[in-house]
Symmetry: C2
Subunit: 558 residues, 2 copies
């Protein structure tokens, strides 16, 4: 313990604060680094053409020999989705519970990383020594089974990370949260608590997942024809309740949508889903059964354009149709940004005559959040009684609301650290303060490219998306600079060429006269010619149309 005066615990996030997604938290003590979670984020609306976003792990790769492992709290994409990219450059052991590892292994297999990745199975009783730190775990309730919180026993004291959680007093599958363990940690004394802020803006308590089961059974019972249930593929509890409701109402179930089939397979193989014998049928068999004997479990609860539900709603799913009079249950809330997609899918379902159950869980009854609301967040804070509090997993406003909740249960404002990614909180001799920042950021993934799309490319895509592009091609004589051919103007995404011939003809004349004028003035460096053409044409087009297309002059010499 002589090190105590020299070394310190350093806590920071490489993702997950100031944003929803790409969760990655780091705790370092001297030469030991422990990473918690490794998620992805879906692109924001100004990240045009980007598929996914992962954290910048420069700090970890620069300190790769210190990284003792990555602890995964649960199997959601925003906690595991970055692994296939990150493990390529940082080959360290990954720790997770059974279902979590099962889901991770599916991803690593696809990425050809399964063989070279050390995966270590834990359960809530495991103890893992990671250099100078020891990790223990506690079960939490969340919208996926096998979720845990993490307690890191560091030389400075206990650092607790809640993972994603709610307090569900009647959990499905009787997976109760480890309340006693949490209380015990609080009794031992928690140095720093990192806690889930997702629902910090929401008053009260989040409903129990079990209430959804009651409602689903009611819906199944009333439905005179098929029932389609769309939910998050990873919500194994919800899927179990669909199965239970199907059993209670003597319906058989088929599963459609790639990720749903995948999760149902993994979760049932690993014993997290209990499917009665003979209940599962192939999609092709649906038409052979009476309509009131069928449930279709589907992806597409976010209205994703290519999902099974959206395709069914548009009557272009290969195997299953939705017929007038069928009941469709959308058992999810739109993620911010997806509201319009979900709305459109509901519209399409209504148009084909389906009876659609959708909307906020408080209205539809078929959805509850997986994250605790304000009273539950306060309960966690009171249970853990941390000396220092770092709200995590949320946009800035959620972290801020969580901080206010912490103040309301008696934590001093100066003991609460709202951090951005890269901000460090250092604790030494029991005293926490802000430390130097570490490198951090968004790594954008577009197709197979990792990091080859950045601000300039995105800015160009934005420009192109607003007003399109005009390519101006002209050939000049090497001898005297006169125009040998062109100018030709090719436009894409600017105007209908047929309806704008006059405009483009005039644009042509402007390019010619600009070039001719420059020749008489003996301006003949290409860069200057191009700039003049761009400016003259840009000005003309803005006057005429109030648009600013990208202009790309191409000048050739012969």
């Amino acid at each position: 313990m002589s090190k105590k005066n020299i070394d310190k615990v350093s806590i920071f996030a490489l993702g997950g604060v100031g944003e929803i997604g790409k969760n990655m938290y780091v705790v370092q003590y001297a030469n030991d680094i422990v990473v918690i979670d490794s998620g992805l984020k879906f692109p924001e609306e100004d990240m045009l053409g980007i598929d996914i976003v992962i954290p910048d792990i420069t700090y970890l790769t620069e300190n790769r020999d210190k990284v003792r492992g990555i602890l995964i709290t649960h199997g959601h994409e925003d906690h595991i989705g970055g692994l296939p990219y990150i493990l390529r450059t940082l080959n360290v052991p990954v720790y997770g519970t059974k279902l979590t590892l099962g889901l991770i292994e599916g991803k690593l297999k696809e990425a050809n990383l399964l063989g070279e990745t050390k995966r270590i199975l834990i359960n809530s009783d495991s103890e893992v020594q990671l250099g100078s730190m020891k990790a223990t775990f506690f079960k939490t309730n969340h919208s996926i089974p096998d979720s845990v919180g993490v307690c890191l026993d560091t030389p400075e004291g206990l650092v607790v990370h809640t993972g994603d959680f709610k307090f569900d007093q009647t959990p499905v599958n009787d997976q109760y949260a480890d309340l006693h363990k949490m209380a015990h940690l609080g009794s031992r004394g928690v140095l720093a608590l990192l806690s889930d802020s997702t629902n910090a803006e929401r008053p009260g308590y989040t409903g129990s997942e079990r209430t959804v089961g009651v409602e689903l059974e009611e819906v199944f019972r009333k439905a005179k024809q098929r029932v389609v249930v769309a939910t998050f593929a990873s919500n194994v509890h919800r899927i179990q309740q669909v199965i239970n409701a199907a059993e209670a109402t003597r319906r058989k179930m088929t599963v459609i949508g790639r990720s749903m089939v995948n999760v149902v397979n993994i979760a049932s193989e690993l014993g997290y889903l209990h499917i009665p014998d003979g209940m599962l049928i192939e999609p092709e068999e649906v038409n052979k059964l009476a309509a009131d004997r069928v449930v279709i479990l589907s992806t597409g609860s976010q209205g994703e354009p290519m999902s099974a539900l959206t395709r069914m709603a548009r009557a272009n799913h290969r195997k299953v149709d939705i017929l007038p009079g069928d009941t469709v249950v959308i058992a999810a809330t739109p993620i911010p940004g997806n509201e319009r997609y979900v709305g459109r899918t509901v519209d399409e379902l209504f148009r084909i005559g389906a009876n659609v159950i959708y909307g906020p869980g408080s209205v539809s009854g078929v959805h509850v959040s997986g994250h605790g609301s304000q009273e539950e967040l306060k309960l966690m804070l009171n249970m853990m009684k941390p000396k220092y509090f770092i709200p995590i997993h949320g946009e800035y406003r959620m972290l801020r609301q969580h901080a206010l909740l912490a103040e309301s249960v008696g934590i001093d404002r100066e003991d609460i650290f709202i951090v951005d990614i890269g901000d460090t909180v250092e604790i030494q001799g029991g005293i926490a303060r802000r430390g130097p920042r570490v490198p951090c950021g968004n790594v954008l993934i577009d197709g197979l490219g990792v990091g080859d799309v950045g601000n300039i490319v995105l800015r160009d895509r934005k420009l192109l998306s607003q007003d399109g592009i005009l390519v101006v091609v002209v050939t000049l004589s090497k001898q005297d600079g006169t125009i040998m051919s062109g100018p030709d103007i090719i436009s894409r995404g600017f105007v209908y060429v047929r309806e704008s011939e006059g405009l483009l003809d005039e644009a042509n004349r402007i390019v010619s006269s600009t070039l001719n004028r420059l020749m008489t003035e003996n301006v003949n460096e290409w860069a200057s010619l191009k700039t003049h053409v761009k400016d003259a044409l840009g000005r003309f087009l803005y006057e005429q149309t109030r648009r600013r297309p990208m202009i790309l002059p191409i000048i050739m010499e012969v």
Copy 2:
């Protein structure tokens, strides 16, 4: 009345059904056409670069001599915003109440259409003869004063259009809805009712605007520093309540944001806003007063990037700053699609240390909707007791929910017509049936252009926004087709050129070898050369990057 057997009432929407926005409803009897409202819509996320969307009025311009006038129910953009574009091609009289006309006149002035447009002031007691139809009006409660519903007395019977409405039993400014008039219409017998479906998905009743005033005064009283209130500029009731709360708490008020200044000017000139003498101050005077003596009324409740609130949140407003400890009230709900913008603005306000009051009206207490919820929609239906019902003003799912509400109060399903734009409902001899469709659609406005951007241009913008563009320039010999210069590849929005030199070099080689091969095969039509270059390069790039940039080959001959 001998015509009754020959002519019919025809009812259709050119905008406002299957969408939120660009409201425009048409009632025709024989040679008389009456238009109700003329709104705009904001572009959907796939309408890249588009500024606004208005209805296609081909039907009206083709029948221009029959159009007797445009009746405007109230002064919101989705009811008046199309006028400056539509009146250019269809110069007909516009009827509106005092505030509505005041707001319209501001728009027409900007568009240089004020002189040539006949504007006719009405109030709720007016009677307007429009050919064979007589229009009367009834006051409604909505989030803007001077809103009315319309009753058209046609030879077939009464056609009633509710306008946008809620039932507010304690309205601000004591503008009560004309309940007795509505009841009287119901007693006379309504042939067809067109009613606002905006909140048809929402159970219960919408709260009274007055509850917001109580909460605002409470917030103002508690605030130790400045209060900034952001709300819709057109919500004159809300603005009056801000003024009342300011008066009660002895604060002075300044107004920022172009549309807010505009509405406050028009509404106070016309007597719809009562501002105590000496209350209004210039933005420049804010800093001269004690912080707890100031209210700032601002635009930006939707987090619009260029709005006054957003600029203040980013500390780049010219005149007014928000300081740590100031209170910011966002008295509005995000319009679907704007959630992320509002969230970002709240984040920025919290970051500068403001106390932000935001979120759903049920949580914040500072906002109520202007549209009636399910119980109010049923009340309207029960009051009007229409023979036929056409839900309007809403996405398809809202129309559908409204139809279900109508069924629940006893209207037969076959007497309810859910329509898309262009669908007609014809009523003849008291019998309604679906008639032939009329031309309809979205007219996209981009800059000064009306209708010169359509599907092809939008498709190109979409493509460009996803993966950018590669322009391939090559000069071939006229004599033997050999490559004289190039190929040069210019990329925009595809990859960082510096980090992808190898990729682009290889792309170059592929273009050259493709062209050389084609020469030996004697393929020399340009179209064919271009197609081959596009295909070969596209295939290579997709294999290497899984992206599909637009490829624009430019082949020149010398």
